[in-house]
Each structure stands twice: as structure tokens, then as C-alpha cells.
């Protein structure tokens, strides 16, 4: 029996202690008509050897050579030490640190995480993390609704350059709470939010403005102007950022005249493998005055009875296990283990290493963009600066191009046709620090050949 240690004599002795004849007797309070095994759809058990072979085979089927896919999840090199330490049993198999004395490791890691995140974002306070970037934005919107007491409208301005998948999650999570998202269009020339569209909302009751950096197309928004608009119009500003990019880009706490009120985003670029979309972690930071409106766990530093420094969960009265129906959110967990990895990643890279990675990403993307623009039938969709993703427009249908690239062992990017049909044959391409000049060249050559083949109708 996998993982069950009982010998026959253990079982007999235990039943005797209970005063029961059989294990079945222990279920005698369950109405008889409900009982009975019904696991027909579950296969027989496999040995660890057999499961290993099965999983190796399946994992191998999904392996691809060279990926230029981004769109919210990014391939980065993760130093070996990160997950070696993260998966130590003492981190891996511990639970929520409610017994603080027996959980100082987890608690101090989270405190260090909160410290690193606030340093990176130039914000005052951070929680212990949320599920992922999309749900973090949803929680940030709800937080803004609670915090902005001068606004009664629950209307949030949401640029079209926010990841379209986040739009969908926002609707699902906040839809039943009467939050309304008003779209802000992007400029077809630059691929960033059209700031003149804000004029239509001047004088209206707007609860919050979401500001992505970079936007979904990889382009860099005019964050100062957007942040100032929010501050001048009684709206709270919510930044949604790529944390890695902030090693080189201006952090949200310094945007505009006074910085944003809330900053959140997807933590995956900080040492978390792609892993089919999760587990990742969402981060949420804010100005000091909003700390009590934050959802999720927060770790604080304090002292014990002997005066020794120690760490504990704090401000718990905001949370569901105390506040029940009046909690700031129903959230219980953070993404503790993933945050542990991110903390180790940031510690290993430090400010210099992190900046190296961010600038290498940017340089690779810029080099690839320049190279691809030189190919016949390829055109950059937008002018202006970008981080590590950009959009190209092709003279051939994107799906066919991607199939051709895949045949060469290349994932060529993300087709934008479904969410942004107005862009035509548009492809979102990402190049991170993982790519070498040879990789970029291989992509360009394959793309060129594919376009040519398609153009010739072969």
C-alpha cells in the first residue's frame, strides 16, 4: 500500500483500542446507501518505476527547441541553487506559518521577499503574494474600490494594452461585485495607451486607472503622464508591471509626481519556470496608508519574550479566518513555495545580476527586431521603445508561418489575431537573455524562408 505504514498487527491493535471489529465499522455513521466504493474510472496503481517511465515519455513529447513565446510568461535562466534549496523538505512540506515559533524559516523568507519587492518597485508595503499576475490585478482593483472613499462609481479605466487574459480574469473575479471596467484604446502607431482618450473621463467619477508597463505589445507606456492624470482626477493609480524589467526601468513608486498608489503584477520572471502557466505568484504592493486595505498575508518583524528578533503573521484581522464575511478577500494562501524561489533568485542575482538580465533581454529583443525588420514581408507594427517583446506584421497568415517555424523546431511567438484582429497578420515576439546571437539568426533565417515559401504558394 503506497505510503501507508500499518502492519497487520498495528491495525489489529488499533482496532482493539478503539473497540471496533473492522475498519469498515469506523464508517458506520455514514448512511449505508451512500457508502460503497465507486472508483471505477481510476486505473490500477503503478510502481514508481512505471510512473517515471510514463512521465518521462510524456515530458519528452512536449519538448521544443527554441522558443520566442512571451505574452505574460517568460523563459529565463534560473540558477540551479534556486530550486535545489526551494524544494528542501523543510520549505516544501511545511504549512502556513500559523505556529510562528515553528515556522521562522518561512516567515523570514517572506519578510525578505516583502523587503526585496518593495525595493524593486520603490513602494512602501508588500503582501506575502497572491496567486498570479491576473488575480493580483483583480485584487488590486477591489482594493482600490475599498480604499478610494471619495469615489462611489466603482469604475476602473483599463487600457487595451493590459494582457487580454487579465481582462477576462478581472471580469470573473470582480464581476459579481459591481466593478465596471472602461476600456482605454491604444494608439495604432505606437502600441501604447492613447493618453488623449483620458480627456473623455476628466470630471467624471473614476475610482482607479490601471497602468501597464510594459504593455502587452512590449511597448513602454508614458507612465508619468498616466500616473499624474490619475492623481489629478481623484483616481487611484494601479501599476501592473514586469518585475524583472524594473531592474532597468523606472519603478512605479517613482512614476509621475508622487508615484502610483498600488503596484502589482506577475512574479514568474523572478526565478519561476514556465511550467505550463503555474504555479507562479502574483505580487501586490502599495503606499503605506493603504496597508490595511491589502488582501492576503503579511509578515511582520517583532520580538519574542526574551527580546530576540522574530517574525510573525500580522494584521490578520483583515483576513477571512477572523473577519469571515467581512474580510478584505477570501484568499487564504499565498504562493509560499514559489515566493521562496523568487527570494532566492533575487538574492543570488542581486541588483547587478538582475540588471544584467533585464538589459540582456532588452538588447536581444532589440537586435532581433532590427534583424527581422530587414526581411521582406516583415514590418514592425509599432514605433517607439519596448522592453523584451515587440509586434511584427507579416505579409502571410500568421498561423501558417508559425507552423512552418515549428517544423524547424522554433516556437515563433504569439499570434495576435484572436484578440487584436485590427492588427492584421500580427505576431508578438519575445527574446530574453536566454537567446544567443546564433539563436536570433536561426529564427530570422527560418522566418525568411517560411515567408518566401508561402509567398511562392508552395
Amino acid at each position: 500500500m503506497p505510503f501507508i505504514p500499518h502492519t497487520q498487527s498495528d491495525t489489529s491493535a488499533m482496532l482493539a483500542s478503539i473497540g471496533a471489529d473492522s475498519i469498515d465499522d469506523l464508517f458506520d455513521e455514514i448512511p449505508a446507501d451512500l457508502r460503497g466504493s465507486a472508483l471505477e474510472g481510476v486505473p490500477d496503481s503503478l510502481s514508481e518505476l512505471a510512473v517515471t517511465r510514463l512521465m518521462q515519455e510524456r515530458a519528452a513529447r512536449d519538448q521544443v527547441g527554441l522558443s520566442f513565446l512571451g505574452g505574460g510568461a517568460y523563459e529565463h535562466h534560473i540558477p540551479a541553487a534556486v530550486w535545489e534549496i526551494t524544494t528542501r523538505g523543510e520549505f516544501y512540506s511545511a504549512y502556513t506559518p500559523y505556529q510562528a515559533e515553528a515556522s521562522q524559516g518561512t516567515l523570514q523568507v517572506i519578510y525578505e521577499y516583502q523587503s526585496m519587492l518593495t525595493a524593486l518597485l520603490a513602494m512602501d508595503v508588500s503582501n506575502a503574494s497572491l496567486y498570479d499576475g491576473a488575480s493580483a490585478l483583480a485584487e488590486a482593483a477591489l482594493m482600490a474600490v475599498r480604499a478610494n472613499r471619495t469615489s462611489k462609481s466603482r469604475r476602473v479605466l483599463l487600457p487595451a494594452t493590459v494582457n487580454p487574459r487579465y481582462h477576462s480574469v478581472l471580469e470573473t473575479i470582480t464581476g459579481t461585485q459591481g466593478v465596471e471596467f472602461l476600456p482605454l484604446p491604444y494608439d495604432l502607431e505606437t502600441g501604447v495607451t492613447d493618453c488623449t482618450a483620458l480627456d473623455a473621463y476628466a470630471g467624471q467619477d473614476i475610482t482607479a486607472l490601471v497602468i501597464p508597463q510594459p504593455g502587452f505589445f512590449g511597448a513602454l507606456e508614458d507612465v508619468d503622464r498616466l500616473t499624474n492624470w490619475a492623481a489629478q482626477h481623484g483616481a487611484l493609480s494601479i501599476a501592473v508591471v514586469n518585475p524583472l524589467s524594473l531592474a532597468m526601468l523606472k519603478p512605479p513608486g517613482q512614476w509621475g509626481a508622487a508615484g502610483v498608489d498600488i503596484a502589482c503584477g506577475e512574479g514568474q520572471p523572478l526565478g519561476v519556470p514556465l511550467s505550463s502557466g503555474g504555479p507562479y505568484f502574483g505580487f501586490l504592493t502599495a503606499r503605506q496608508k493603504l496597508v490595511r486595505q491589502m488582501p492576503g498575508r503579511i509578515v511582520g518583524r517583532t520580538v519574542d519574550v526574551d527580546g530576540r528578533e522574530g517574525f510573525t503573521l500580522t494584521l490578520q484581522a483583515r483576513e477571512q479566518h477572523i473577519r469571515r464575511g467581512k474580510a478584505t478577500s477570501n484568499i487564504c494562501t499565498n504562493q509560499g513555495l514559489v515566493v521562496t524561489a523568487a527570494t532566492i533568485y533575487m538574492a543570488l542575482l542581486g541588483p547587478v545580476g538582475l540588471r544584467q538580465v533585464a538589459t540582456a533581454c532588452h538588447a536581444n529583443a532589440a537586435a532581433l527586431k532590427a534583424r527581422l525588420e530587414g526581411i521582406a514581408g516583415v514590418q514592425a507594427a509599432f514605433s517607439g521603445a519596448h522592453f523584451h517583446e515587440f509586434v511584427i506584421r507579416l505579409d502571410q497568415p500568421v498561423d501558417g508561418v508559425l507552423d512552418g517555424l515549428a517544423a524547424d523546431g522554433i516556437l515563433g511567438g504569439l499570434s495576435l489575431g484572436r484578440h487584436f484582429p485590427e492588427l492584421g497578420n500580427a505576431l508578438l515576439v519575445c527574446a530574453t537573455e536566454t537567446k544567443t546571437p546564433a539563436d536570433l539568426e536561426r529564427y530570422a533565417v527560418s522566418l525568411e524562408r517560411q515567408l518566401e515559401t508561402m509567398r511562392n504558394g508552395v
Binding site: 472613499r149 490595511r292 490578520q316 484581522a317 483583515r318 477572523i322 473577519r323 467581512k326
Partner: protein
């Protein structure tokens, strides 16, 4: 044994009410309530001018392990909150009937005062709850 001043009125939810000469009332939580909650770490105060009906939740007192609503003992408008509690919530523990007052209300219907308990009745309520 918790302190119950003779000159105040009380609610079964452990708020106290002090009638001022100008017709306004001060509201706080009783000594019994602060003892049961333990060391307070935060008080969420009502906004000035906010109007409440009798029994509405209008403030929150938080300790490390619990959060409890404070209900409006009378209908009326909030004319002041004890802003000092923001930085020093422990005043509610130290002096629940004095420096630990929470907000000041202008009652809309003074007759509602009759609904409240006097010191003896509140004392009896606590004694019954203890049994």
C-alpha cells in the same frame, strides 16, 4: 470584575453611551468588551458626517486575534471621531470610558435612549452571560 459606571447607558453588544449637555452623545466600548478582545491594535473610525441608524455597524475594533464591529447605539450623524486612537489604540484598553471614547454622535431620535440598558441591567446581562 469589570467596571460599569453608573452614569452611562449600555447596549447588549457592549457599547456605552454618555449623554453630553449639548445633546450629543459619546460612544465607546465597555471595559468588559475591551478585556474580552485583548490588546487592541487598530480602531477603524467612522467618517465625520456619516449617518447611521440604530444598530448599524459603524466602527471596527481589532485585536491580534479578533475584529469586532461597533454598532451605532442610536440613530444619528457622526460629528467627531477620536482620531488619537489611530496612533494609540491601546487607549481603549487603558481607559475605555475616558480617553478611549470612539466617536461622538448627534442623535436623530433621542427617544431611542430609552432602548438602552442602565448600569444595573448591563451588570445583570454580564452576570447571565457568565453562567
Amino acid at each position: 470584575m469589570s467596571e460599569i459606571p453608573e452614569d452611562l447607558r449600555f447596549t447588549p453588544q457592549h457599547e456605552w453611551v454618555r449623554e453630553n449637555d449639548d445633546g450629543t452623545v459619546d460612544v465607546g466600548i465597555t471595559d468588559h468588551a475591551q478585556t474580552a478582545l485583548g490588546d487592541l491594535v487598530f480602531v477603524e473610525l467612522p467618517e465625520a458626517d456619516a449617518e447611521f441608524s440604530q444598530g448599524d455597524a459603524c466602527a471596527v475594533v481589532e485585536s491580534v486575534k479578533a475584529a469586532s464591529d461597533v454598532y451605532a447605539p442610536l440613530s444619528g450623524a457622526v460629528i467627531a471621531s477620536n482620531e488619537g486612537l489611530t496612533d494609540a489604540p491601546e487607549r481603549v484598553n487603558e481607559d475605555p470610558y475616558g480617553a478611549g471614547w470612539i466617536f461622538k454622535l448627534r442623535p436623530a431620535n433621542p427617544l431611542e435612549l430609552e432602548d438602552l440598558l442602565n448600569a444595573d441591567a448591563y451588570q445583570q446581562l454580564l452576570a447571565e452571560a457568565d453562567e
